[in-house]
Assembly symmetry: C3
Homo-oligomer: 399 residues x 3
Amino acid sequence: MRRYWIPAFFSSELPHPDCPPIRVGLLGEQLVAFRDSEGRVGLVDEFCAHRGASLFFGRNEECGLRCVYHGWKYDVEGHCIDMPSEPPESNFKHKIRLTAYPCRERGGLVWTYMGPPERMPGLPELEWAIVPEGHRYISKRIQDCNYLQAMEGGIDSSHVSFLHRGDVRVFSARLTRDTAPRFEVHRTAYGLLIGARREWDAETYYWRITQWLMPWYTMIPRFEERPIGGHAWVPIDDEHCWAWSIHWHPDRPLTDAERDDFVGQRRDIHPELIPGTFRPVANKDNDYLIDRELQRSGRSFTGIKSIGIQDQAVQESQGPRFDRTKEHLGTSDTAIINARKRLLEAVEAVAAGQDPPGLDPATHRVRSAGLFLPKTVPFDEGAGDGLLARSPAYELITA
Amino acid sequence: MRRYWIPAFFSSELPHPDCPPIRVGLLGEQLVAFRDSEGRVGLVDEFCAHRGASLFFGRNEECGLRCVYHGWKYDVEGHCIDMPSEPPESNFKHKIRLTAYPCRERGGLVWTYMGPPERMPGLPELEWAIVPEGHRYISKRIQDCNYLQAMEGGIDSSHVSFLHRGDVRVFSARLTRDTAPRFEVHRTAYGLLIGARREWDAETYYWRITQWLMPWYTMIPRFEERPIGGHAWVPIDDEHCWAWSIHWHPDRPLTDAERDDFVGQRRDIHPELIPGTFRPVANKDNDYLIDRELQRSGRSFTGIKSIGIQDQAVQESQGPRFDRTKEHLGTSDTAIINARKRLLEAVEAVAAGQDPPGLDPATHRVRSAGLFLPKTVPFDEGAGDGLLARSPAYELITA
Amino acid sequence: MRRYWIPAFFSSELPHPDCPPIRVGLLGEQLVAFRDSEGRVGLVDEFCAHRGASLFFGRNEECGLRCVYHGWKYDVEGHCIDMPSEPPESNFKHKIRLTAYPCRERGGLVWTYMGPPERMPGLPELEWAIVPEGHRYISKRIQDCNYLQAMEGGIDSSHVSFLHRGDVRVFSARLTRDTAPRFEVHRTAYGLLIGARREWDAETYYWRITQWLMPWYTMIPRFEERPIGGHAWVPIDDEHCWAWSIHWHPDRPLTDAERDDFVGQRRDIHPELIPGTFRPVANKDNDYLIDRELQRSGRSFTGIKSIGIQDQAVQESQGPRFDRTKEHLGTSDTAIINARKRLLEAVEAVAAGQDPPGLDPATHRVRSAGLFLPKTVPFDEGAGDGLLARSPAYELITA
């Protein structure tokens, strides 16, 4: 995972130069992020190299973050640039450097790279990160389980027919007429291309086509010309992850009605959060506010409101780190089985000194689809250019 | 313990067919219980065999509990009876079965048996479980300690002279004139018959006689013709147990005044619970709402209100699993010493392929007593038929 | 640590004979303290020797603390003096004794000694403990970290120039003109005499002189004729400590204005506590109520209100037990390095059967100082008798 750029936090969490620092948990590390006087973003070890006080309490001033305990000050690259508690002749500060990870901003997010500097790939070119700000809506929540459990939900077309029944209203017939999709999975440069087909009529399949971009990006099959949904599932540690939820329209700004839908009653994949936190109001301590009458009525399969919380409920209910010796996988789990295989292969490749798949930003220019195809037509052929991300905004990227 | 029927939960926790399922913790296992469309009760592994989502969030419908993640459905015996996410030809569902335990209803409770099916004994014939509903009042609370600590309080006649002084008002003279009871303990088919005698006058002992029915049933010595009190102490796991508290009258319905006593200020052994939970309002996080002034006044020995919470306070204060190398047992602990001995022997018997004691329901037809006897009369002889449960309701049981 | 008298709790926590007992955590032990009918203070194992019920719920009456479970009663020395649940002939009570530690009262505190009785030293003669009650103000708070992290803050003159900038207003110029103090550390009978000098002008140093009295007493360098501040940092267990904060005036009662300062807005080193607890209102769960605007304004270096909470914030932020392999010590840490050395030597001395330093009460009669000295004058010589505690109250001590 250290070989990939990581969506770390919203740019807006550090709204202006010298604003207060924030704590950031990523890949099991405790970090602190700050935006310096010149607007540069730093992401460094949370704890001062001197005696370990948290830099979260630090003063962000004059191009550096200063520990409040003894005034040691660090720049965005982790260099100790001031050590006023030591006499000048000690020349001690030049020996001190915090762990620091490079940061870039794109698509409203700060991205970081925690791997070996000489192997840093290009910044991801996922379509949602490239489109203009007005075309995009992103939310983030903490999920109390391993990232893999969460990510597996994102490539599991099968659960949509059940877990989200009643909530994915617009295309429900497409999902309920046949609830046992067959999967075709192709290995690609970025990860997997996954086609899940359902019987529609004698001549036709309904295909839900999605890509898994290594190591944690998933997309929801698009419904006609509507905004596309997607996720990034990023490990905080082995038992917690960031669940990023994204909607974007490749060609036009989101409408007010679309935005209202993400923050109002329905919310789709976007959570209602406890103010000042990224923890959902409906969470495991309150059984996700399950409404048994609503569940019983059939208007919602779960009685839990909003798609994102439905996912969170079942994924967290597997436990913080699900013991997979207890699972019984079927044909509906074909995509999951393939993704695990790719991840294990990638680990082996890295251990052998090679690059894992999915590093080349050009391969990120893909897009999900949902469409009816004659049974005789292979899904990738039928989808054709529909699987290519072609937002005009790509022209804005400067190499 | 798996060789005995276990009082698992109230029948009323599953009030009608297809009502919402409940979580049940027993003997270290996480289970979920539901009542199917035909009124049958199922008690199965909480987690779906597919990918481990909790069936607590499941849909209880059409004679089965359906997982909301992918729609797998289980009957009360744990058989997977529907698997709509898989194509019919996979025939996968016939290979899937959840751990499931048989359930029976008696005395307002659901009982389960978690042992080897071929050794299932008859359903317990404890008098409180047999009498008509109107004769009985039962409550339940969670206690944050090992079941054995709790159970030992139930066979420890000695503590009543202290812990409950001021609260067991009606017969206080019988308990305070002599505070150092001598114990006589007889081994019986069901467990132990325990006589604790106190000096009353030159010729007379006051005897408190109770039975311990293996592995967790205790009774409070009866006071004249009043309702009898009792408990069942059932392990949730090594550090938590269900404390069931029971009052029943063998021969007549409980009066309104008696019932009021269990739910009002005094409450006797019955706790006031935090609504929606089985956790008492007075608990270890608030020092059981101890009232030091009340304690000081002498009207209550502890300053803690209600007998059940007094027991909970001292038993939990021993810690979640008391280190028994630190205890100093005296003659007042004779019953406890004997009970531990029987438990260890029972463990050895089961390990050797034999049956533990107390399985035969006919042996459960016993009843506690409290009575004055001449010093020359052995307590079991003096009590005679008073120790036999003879509720007319026994006639209602059909073999 | 068991070889030293320990400040255990306020005398006022046991305000009168036979008042309710309190729980006391010290050196990893769970204890209960009570004041008996004669006013004597007992400090004994929290758990009854019989079956381990907590004596916190006990009845404090007639010269002993009585367990509410079976009435066993203990005197202040831990002897079981009544065992009413046992017949008199068993003579069992004479074999039972709880762990008990001797207690003395001085300076508004109860002190205890947890070491070998034959090696008990004289009661400490710290000046703050000797002066009349009106000359003294003491507070206490729980800190969620190892005592050593906390104590190291107390001998670290360097951090005052940063952490407390804006709050130690009266002498700020003395602390900010030179922020890199040089340390001179002398080994003494009581622990360490620490001089930290700052450049003032071409001929003059500003010296902050303080003593570390083993194993946990520190003092704040005095400012002119004002009250002196100090601390005792006492381990509850490896991850929690009592932070005692003290102000005293050697020669006169504290004025109302001075007292107001300790309980009002500013508070100095004294915390605002959650009522009924020793936990500060500003604590790690609320990021010490850091006010980022106040921090940004420069009026406070941290944005955290009151000196004591500033210390608590950085010390707890190091973690409950800081991994010292991660620290980078400089010349500003000279006092800390020396203190650790003395502690390790003391451990070795005790292991070799010798006495650790600092046991002789006569050596406790020292006092901190802050003063300007010509550069040519050694600090201990320049301070002279100013480092001796000479409160007239010493005459009141009777050997």
